[in-house]
Symmetry: C2
Subunit: 425 residues, 2 copies
Amino acid sequence: MSAPAITAVRDASHYSTAPARPITIALLGLGRIGSAVARRAREDRASPQPLRVVGALVRDVTMARPGAEEIPRTTDVAELFARRPDVVVEVLGDIEAARTLIRGALERRVPVVTANKALMARHGEELLGLAIRTGTAFRYEASVLAGVPFLGTFSARPLASRVTALSGILNGTTNFVLSQMRDTGAGLVETTLDAQRRGFAEPDPSQDISGNDAAHKLAILAWHFGLGSIAPEAIETIGIDGIDTDDVTAADQFAGVIRPVARIEQSGEGTTAFVGPAFLPRTDRLAQVDGVENALVLETDAGRLFFSGPGAGPIPTATTILDDVIEATRGGQPHAPVNRRGRVPVGPPATSWFLRLTARRLPPGDEIVGFLGSYGIWSHRTLTRGQGIWLLTYPCTRDRVEMALCALSAATPCDGYAIRALVEH
Amino acid sequence: MSAPAITAVRDASHYSTAPARPITIALLGLGRIGSAVARRAREDRASPQPLRVVGALVRDVTMARPGAEEIPRTTDVAELFARRPDVVVEVLGDIEAARTLIRGALERRVPVVTANKALMARHGEELLGLAIRTGTAFRYEASVLAGVPFLGTFSARPLASRVTALSGILNGTTNFVLSQMRDTGAGLVETTLDAQRRGFAEPDPSQDISGNDAAHKLAILAWHFGLGSIAPEAIETIGIDGIDTDDVTAADQFAGVIRPVARIEQSGEGTTAFVGPAFLPRTDRLAQVDGVENALVLETDAGRLFFSGPGAGPIPTATTILDDVIEATRGGQPHAPVNRRGRVPVGPPATSWFLRLTARRLPPGDEIVGFLGSYGIWSHRTLTRGQGIWLLTYPCTRDRVEMALCALSAATPCDGYAIRALVEH
């Protein structure tokens, strides 16, 4: 880097090291996020260089794009690349078209920024490898905890990024839904519709509710933090649609909450991971993350780090994408995290369980506890309420708990449902 | 950057872009942190390049350095620089010698890493300006929230670093002391001695207890996040030594805690800041940060971001310093945050107050409330306990509250003490 021509140290302008030439951006996609990027770029006052969107690749040039009318649109990617953008921003959201377009840009050595979780979960390492081979900047900060910059930070810091486990609330829609169920007593469907009305949930929230969105993000975190490459499908992924308001109330009686948790852990026995609703004691840091907020806990040998902030939404996502654009134009090495483990097998962990047992006529609580104990499921807290019993168990595998519930439903009129619990003993 | 010679994408080694030549480090200082850096460098397995400490500048070469015996020591800085280290790490901890040595290194274009809060609070912008002029890397990630990387992140991300306010728990010793006073009921002196025994507090904890350490860190954050240059002395800085266990108990009755808080805010009326013990409702994110942990809340137009983790200690600090060393050798621009405001005047804010009034024979509570009201101090909660009354007031300036307490002590036998309260109305 050459020294900028600056004379006085106290001159406030000595911070401005970049020339004022605009940074030109080509958008791949001009939907909700793409339009927000265009708007934020136009209104920005923080960047040392103006940010200018020079065109957008769209499927239909005639479609209305509220707030992004001035952006030249094309269906021809060659025409877009002919504008010689400084950076390509991919906000299409699908996998195959995005992958091909990003490969094309990186092969031409055009820096790329993406927020595409599904793509990065499946092909992130491949694309990063291509970026490193071609010496081209490639950033994906908005793909996890969209409004909180941390991925780029850790990829440049090999000591701090040696994590043994990480857990988080990686999906804002489901965290909002579970928070609202507790606060209002409303059911899952009603609360999800409310989230859609408020603009927190997508028109089709199935990727959120099912846990698939969080599983994609967990897979990205796994390779980014060197815990290994894992297929999102290999992660135990449970939707929040099995949770009802009685579970939320019972969790409260156990001084806990139910949160949409994603966790991966590496130990002597291998790598375990899960995504799904989980009981957490109220004192757990993740239990205190409410509403649409997202959060991440990193367990490192230098201590536990915690980050939280907006996990989605057009403004935080566009802000992060544009900061990525600025970083991408400043050169330096592509992000190069330290996944030296390659593909690793991943299984479900043994955890405590928050069990719900319901029946029209419940057997006495101590009979149920005794029956489950005979299958090796020992509980240390029970609550009977209406036609349900809730238990908090000692750690065991899902196989064992499902087998016990199966036997219980054969021997008694009880229906069981098992929710993971992260409780320290 | 040239493309590394790599052929197979799935080859895990494609992440390793750096050659295996060791990174050589010269330490300025070999005290508690310097020795920890030497030890961590020797034991490191995470860095793609070996980390080698080639020498340390010390005042006394004969002094024992447990755990760092193998490090060549010298009192002659010219001899140390003659070893041509890749990076100089400054861990002296004073101001003037450190400033001169760092200037000398930067003028020779040798990258510098420091963890020196007092230095960076007073001369950080000057040193950063020199680094930018000479095109030399200069990093100070461990100076605030030592174990949590975020300063470098935001300096490269101008959109996200547009904060309007920031608040945090920036000193672990005082947070440990106030947490322990609540948990054990022990007094300030006893708890501080306990912190020293556990190695959390320095042999002389006065910089922590007085709030000066946190004021230094707040001054660094102020210029780093573009809120302006402020002299640490200009920040209202109150020690925690005015807090007694009765205050902690009374705060608990008001569903709150007392935490060592640092806050700066920029509004239409100017910049306000304070450092000192403050009442926080239990639901406040900072209220949930216990023990030696540190935390920071950034208020941005894209939402509230929260970071927490170890704020001090040899292992987290050494980890952060060595990651800074690695980043410093990778080139790129020096950190260039966006303080375009220059030096700004800073005053104390108007906040709510948590007031303690004590007397051998207390006047009736409603008389006190009425008296304070006649001075414009209105309280919305009161608690009488033993020989004390605690009140939680509506927001007003410190001047006004001190004047009212002064008048009260003239008119009645009551002694008053005012603690800031961060409460939303």
